[in-house]
């Protein structure tokens, strides 16, 4: 009889004890905040008891994965203080002794290890599934071997240098062609001048354009 009464008391007392373990601002508990509409918008699912059960299962999985003990179960994750935000508190009890809580630091390590899996289970991200107190690790920046700007610079300066060389070479060639053309014409002019001038005196003086052949054919 006494044993029967004790058994009944334990059944009633256990949940009450569990409630004592999990409370707002529990020393070994974490507050979780979920923003479904921000993350999923129109496709947001409803947060109900089944989702809470899923959360317990996910956390049990995280604890199993970290401690590599196959004994963690959904009963070891106790949830409380649920609001419509959606936010709630949870604590983790030890599988061997349900009155003993796993320390905060160990829970943090387990969450950090499986954070990616937990996020994906709920189709959320670090920002929309928050464990208050556990900060997400910053993504390592992608550092390419050559900075991209150097590549663009290389292309531009290569094109410009090629253009400068091309223009300079073509100018040079143009000048050479002009000089060749001029020396051929110049010889004819010199012959004409030598023929027209008895002695070479005129070539020494200043060329007076008043005496140029502006009109080779006189107008009538």
């Amino acid at each position: 009889m006494l044993v029967w009464i004790l058994f009944l008391l334990c059944q009633v007392g256990a949940p009450a004890l569990a409630q004592d373990l999990c409370q707002r601002d529990a020393p070994n508990g974490y507050k979780v905040r979920i923003s479904l509409k921000t993350a999923l918008g129109e496709d947001a699912y409803e947060w109900n008891q089944s989702e809470m059960f899923f959360f317990q299962a996910t956390m049990a999985f995280a604890m199993r994965r970290h401690f590599q003990m196959e004994t963690y179960n959904v009963d070891n994750i106790i949830l409380c203080v649920q609001t419509s935000r959606v936010s709630f508190w949870f604590v983790v009890t030890s599988p061997d002794n349900t009155t003993m809580l796993i320390p905060k630091a160990d829970v943090e390590k387990a969450v950090r290890m499986s954070r990616h899996r937990i996020n994906n289970a709920f189709l959320l991200s670090d920002r929309t599934l928050e464990f208050l107190g556990i900060y997400p690790t910053l993504a390592a920046p992608v550092n390419p071997d050559t900075p991209p700007w150097l590549i663009v610079f290389g292309v531009v300066i290569g094109a410009v240098c090629a253009g400068i060389i091309a223009l300079l070479v073509s100018s040079l060639l143009q000048k050479r062609r002009k000089e060749k053309g001029m020396t051929e014409d110049g010889q004819d002019e010199e012959d004409m001048q030598v023929k027209g001038v008895e002695n070479g005196i005129n070539l020494d003086g200043t060329y007076n354009r008043g005496f140029t052949d502006d009109d080779r054919f006189t107008k009538l």
Partner: protein, 619 residues
């Protein structure tokens, strides 16, 4: 005056010519339309009461800008020489005006191409995903973000630290930033390749550099008008505040803006028009260039302000969302119940029921007007405000690339005029040795300018650039332009000038031009000059320094200029213009020692004059 139809100078070498009128007009327009049209005019419009600013602006254009522009194009076209040769021809005593123009163009080229180099640096960095100025870099041990970046913003950090690597004050020079040197070398190489064959290559380049900005502005206009918040920005810009017209500062700023925007007194416009044939209607050209320049300013301010309105709207929404998140988390309200629309009602009800908890949250006051009031001009607009706006636009890389290519085109086409104002006078002064081909001479000048501009690549380079911009790029121009107009209107004579204009355009200038040249423009220039100097003298010589150790960081620290720096400022303002009186005195001394007759011979080269038959009057 030189005979009509003189196409060749003494050596029989033909002066280069524009291939067609379009190249000439595009070059002048490109020179006038520069970075200031995009990042100075919209700012002035905003702070001076929106649409009301257009009134003093247009008055200054008609009575000051257009007459000066017409004057410069006309004398360049008639006398067919660069700025030094032109002023020597008009009056030997005023040859110093040309020298001053050349010196000022030299100083402006130094810092203007550095700004182009900054634009190139941002352009090179726009080809990354994500844009480097959109997020803070991690610190050494990857535990968090760099502190300087967190305290200010990623955009500010990228500009002040990763681009400029700015020192906390002017005394600390810092070292040469190699990435800046590289960008500067690229900028000067591109300028050189456009200048290699003189106006032949410039004429080709301006088909792209002068027209591309309009294309980009149109694209931005279409895009910006579809962004949220654009209309608020435009309404804010164009709502006229007529009271502001009573403030004389508005009129002063309008006059200086028109003046600097048209790029007169650089000597570049004189050089460009000197390559024209003499029978060209420069009156139409001047009016066209002036009107297009102002129209571009107004047209550019529309997409700029639409985008600034979008940025203000985005900041406002981010601010509100931060508050909404805080309230939602504190009171555990269901997610997304509080929205931007019903924020006010929620806030009032929560503040009524739990005032202490709400005040503990320290919510920010989010006011759209405050965000719209955050105005910026100059490099702050392009490299800080606009880059921040671009991050929030979908497809930010494309918009960033387009924007910086546009700024690059604007800067490059203005650099053509700056450099032309240096090269053509040197050619006309026959300072170039005969054996040196033009390409080599241009290369030497570009190399010299590049090496001198390396001071702007130091850690304190930005402070020096601001000094150059404020002291070289302002008062000397006003003085030079004043002397230009006095020289032509009074010393050369309005009668002779009207004869020349009749020869070139086919009709004499009407009464409007004459009144402007004789009375209105010189008077306006004089008043503007005196007022500008008075205002500058009243403002204490200080600069804004970026100092991470400052108490109020991220606000800039206002420091006074050290004495040696202030001395340099005064030198920069006065040395270019000191050549005006110096040359006048020199010529006066030469004249008094009796070499006047030989000078007049050199000034009026008659191709048919044979020096062997000149009788020397002095015996």
């Amino acid at each position: 005056m030189p005979e009509e139809g003189m196409e060749d100078n003494k050596e029989g070498e033909e002066r280069p010519k524009w291939n067609n009128k379009a190249e000439y007009l595009l070059t002048c327009i490109g020179f006038a339309v520069g970075l200031g049209n995009v990042w100075r005019f919209p700012y002035l419009c905003q702070i001076y009461g929106g649409g009301a600013f257009l009134i003093p602006y247009l008055i200054a254009l008609v009575f000051q800008g257009l007459p000066l522009l017409y004057l410069e194009l006309a004398i360049g076209q008639r006398l067919r020489m660069g700025s030094i040769g032109v002023w020597n021809s008009i009056s030997p005593y005023l040859g110093g005006v040309g020298v001053a123009s050349m010196l000022v163009s030299f100083c402006v080229s130094l810092f203007y191409n550095t700004i182009v180099a900054w634009v190139l640096w941002y352009l090179f960095n726009s080809f990354q995903e994500p844009l480097p100025w959109s997020q803070c870099p991690l610190n050494h041990n990857n535990t968090g973000y760099v502190e300087e970046c967190v305290e200010s913003t990623p955009v500010n950090y990228f500009w002040y630290r990763q681009t400029l690597n700015i020192t906390p004050n002017m005394e600390t020079s810092g070292s040469l930033q190699w990435w800046m040197v590289v960008s500067l070398a690229t900028a000067w190489s591109i300028v050189y390749i456009c200048f290699v064959r003189g106006i032949e290559t410039i004429g080709k380049a301006v088909y792209v550099t002068a027209t591309f900005p309009y294309l980009v502005l149109t694209i931005f206009l279409v895009r910006a008008l579809t962004l949220p918040g654009a209309y608020e920005g435009l309404i804010y810009l164009f709502t006229p505040d007529w009271e502001i017209l009573k403030n004389p500062q508005v009129w002063l700023d309008a006059a200086t803006q028109i003046f600097f925007s048209l790029s007169v007194a650089f000597g570049g416009l004189i050089s460009f028009s000197s390559y024209n044939s003499q029978k060209n209607n420069c009156e139409k050209d001047a009016v066209l260039v002036g009107v297009i320049n102002s129209a571009t300013s107004i047209y550019a301010s529309i997409p700029i302000f639409a985008i600034l309105g979008f940025k203000a709207h985005t900041n406002y929404v981010t601010c509100l969302n931060g508050n909404i998140l805080a309230l939602t988390n504190e009171f555990d309200i269901s997610d997304m119940n509080i929205t931007v629309e019903n924020y006010e009602q929620w806030f009032d009800s929560l503040n009524g029921t739990h005032p202490s908890r709400v005040s503990d949250l320290k919510l920010k006051t989010c006011d759209l007007q405050t965000f719209l009031d955050q105005s910026a001009s100059g490099t702050g607009l392009a490299f800080i405000v606009f880059t921040e706006a671009v991050i929030s636009m979908p497809g930010s890389q494309v918009w960033a690339v387009l924007f910086f290519i546009m700024l690059f085109s604007l800067g490059l086409s203005s650099m053509f005029g700056n450099l032309e104002g240096i090269l053509t006078p040197l050619h006309d002064l026959k300072l170039v040795p005969k054996w040196m081909p033009n390409e080599l001479f241009t290369a030497i000048i570009c190399l010299l300018l590049f090496l001198m501009a390396l001071i702007f690549c130091l850690g304190s380079g930005n402070y020096w650039l601001e000094i150059f911009n404020s002291y070289v790029g302002s008062v000397p121009f006003l003085i030079i332009a004043f002397f230009e107009i006095i020289a032509v209107a009074y010393i050369y004579g309005i009668g002779r000038f009207s004869d020349d204009l009749e020869f070139m355009t086919g009709h004499r200038p009407n009464i409007f031009w004459k009144v402007c040249w004789l009375v209105i423009s010189p008077l306006m220039l004089f008043v503007v000059l005196v007022a500008y100097v008075a205002v500058q003298a009243q403002t204490p010589p200080t600069y804004a320094a970026w100092n991470p150790d400052y108490v109020n960081f991220p606000n800039t620290e206002v420091l006074p200029y050290p004495d040696w720096v202030f001395a340099i400022c005064v030198l920069l303002s006065s040395v270019p213009v000191i050549s005006i009186p110096l040359v006048a005195i020199y010529r006066l001394i030469c004249c008094m020692s009796g070499r006047h007759s030989k000078d007049s011979l050199h000034n009026n080269p008659n191709p048919y004059a044979n020096e062997d038959y000149v009788v020397e009057l002095l015996l």
